[in-house]
Symmetry: C2
Subunit: 325 residues, 2 copies
């Protein structure tokens, strides 16, 4: 028998760089969370302050995981992120960080492989690793939150596209002359099947008929609570949202013949009120043989999908890492 | 010096199994056509007759290419084709050929590797080999004919999807409540941006205002000829067609961040009358950074794209072939 070499157990850090908070966790190779931390991002205090906060949260985790070896770090950021180079090309949360090489900067400070990617891509990777997408070679994840984030897994790999901009599923056009969207287009899926879309449809509803919905400060959660209590108009809003989501998913089915769709984000909580309408619309708008094989299922990791995905991406890419000095 | 071994030069046959004609060509490894043949398919005379015709066309080509070695044969067929198994699951041209293993049948007869795939996939493969897609890792081909065929190349490979049904680009929904489509959906891209769509839009036009278009037996080519002569309504039809095509392409850009789109088929002949509208709509409905990088270009191989693609597929797959006896 060979003598056993006593080696330190490896772990990885997954980070989620949000506009309000930075969330992070120490994650093992098996997908177990050892420790987690959340601190404010402090965007208004400038880029150097945000970087200091990232370093602080990493340091906190390292203090809490002594005796273990930190092998690599991954971080999700909304926006146009160039995974290969580690550059934030453009992020809605950090308007003045244009073409900023965060990977280079942090690898210099930390001397540890550091990777960044779009947060929606990492949510899909996380769900594929230990969530709803586990075991599927191909699937598409839609995060239905304030907007809609998308991540596409093809042959067990995230599909980033030519410019890292694949998976902008919230901007599929469903109504060519519909609501204007922040992206410059009209009638984007995001304008109907996100929390923002639900609020707007609810407000629109008020204009034409009475409802139990209050007249001001409507939130998507209010519409959800009213739907739970049987409010007819609120239920109709979720039905409409469900159908329109189905139109968008059917487009993806017709283009890619993917069979598994995973829905996450706050709006997916209203599952029972929209899912049948989504499924019906997918069947209606695809060929029978493809449509009847489509599965729309719930995400399993909640807010942690991106953190797990960031840790997994770091784990899978650490060997491709070459330290620059 | 080693003595040179005198070996026969290889060639491949690419076939296109249409509802009216079978077209075939002997193609070299360099993409040169040595000989081509076209004979009637004779669908009404039954499956055995069609198979006999396929064998006849192959035999004719072999007679004409004596001294060369036929290495493998590829054939494109519209419909749901299972490339891996060589099965025609369902084809609009051959309604009674359900789940028919054409590969097995013909390999037994010929003792030569025989492969089948969806005709639109093979057109994309052909254009990628020696046509408009040459040199691009990722592109999407749309054949604008009676309907719309689609083929998607990702990382230099055709993307077939889970069930061989990827690339049904004609069935992207552009108007959720639009024209009914044969597929069961409404408002499919194919109902606007194909020859069928142009004819219908032209007829619709007649209902509301006068035009130089005759009232009966309108064809897409008639609309094209009138547009050439400056007929305002015919020009408007192509503008509308171009815009709607742009909506569909923008969806693909938002989903996949592909940058190259190749347009073939008869309708693409009217290029000058629609292309600017297509490009404008793509820019309008995608993020600036992705949209401005999109190239929409002309297919280069015309009707031969599928034949070249079939030959190339046969060439690339012959090593995976194991003869069943």
């Amino acid at each position: 028998m060979k003598p056993e070499v006593q080696s330190m157990k490896n772990y990885f850090i997954g980070l989620d760089l949000g506009g309000t908070n930075i969330r992070a966790a120490a994650v093992t190779q098996e997908g177990e969370i050892l420790h987690r931390v959340k601190i404010p991002t402090e965007v208004p205090l400038g880029r150097e302050r945000v970087i200091a906060n990232i370093l602080k949260i990493i340091d906190t985790i390292r203090q809490e995981t002594k005796g273990l070896k930190l092998s690599a770090i991954g971080m999700g950021i909304p926006g146009i992120i160039f995974f290969d180079k580690g550059i934030i090309a453009q992020s809605p949360n950090f308007p003045d960080w244009i073409d900023f090489n965060l990977k280079e900067r942090l690898e210099k400070e930390l001397n540890i492989p550091f990777f960044i990617d779009n947060d929606a891509n990492l949510a899909a990777i996380g769900e594929g690793w230990i969530g709803g997408g586990k075991g599927f070679d191909n699937f598409c994840m839609l995060t239905l939150g304030t907007g809609i984030g998308g991540g596409i897994i093809l042959n067990k790999k995230i599909w980033r596209g030519e410019y890292g901009m694949a998976g902008e599923l919230g901007h599929i056009t469903v109504y060519p002359d519909g609501y204007p969207c922040n992206c410059g287009n009209r009638g984007c899926l995001e304008q109907y099947a996100s929390a923002t879309g639900i609020v707007r449809m609810a407000k629109e509803e008020l204009g034409v008929r009475s409802s139990e919905l209050g007249e001001k400060n409507i939130t998507a959660d209010m519409v959800y609570q009213l739907a739970k209590n049987g409010d007819r108009y609120s239920l109709e809003i979720f039905q409409k949202m469900g159908r329109i989501l189905g139109i968008g998913i059917a487009d993806i089915v017709n283009i890619l013949n993917i069979e598994v769709f995973i829905l996450g984000g706050g709006v997916a909580e209203a599952w029972d009120y929209f899912i049948e309408y989504t499924r019906e619309e997918i069947r209606r708008r695809t060929y029978r043989v493809t449509g009847e094989r489509v599965k729309v299922i719930k995400a399993e990791l909640g807010d942690d999908a991106g953190i797990f995905g960031a840790a997994y991406m770091a784990m899978k890419n650490r060997d491709s890492y070459h330290f620059r000095c």
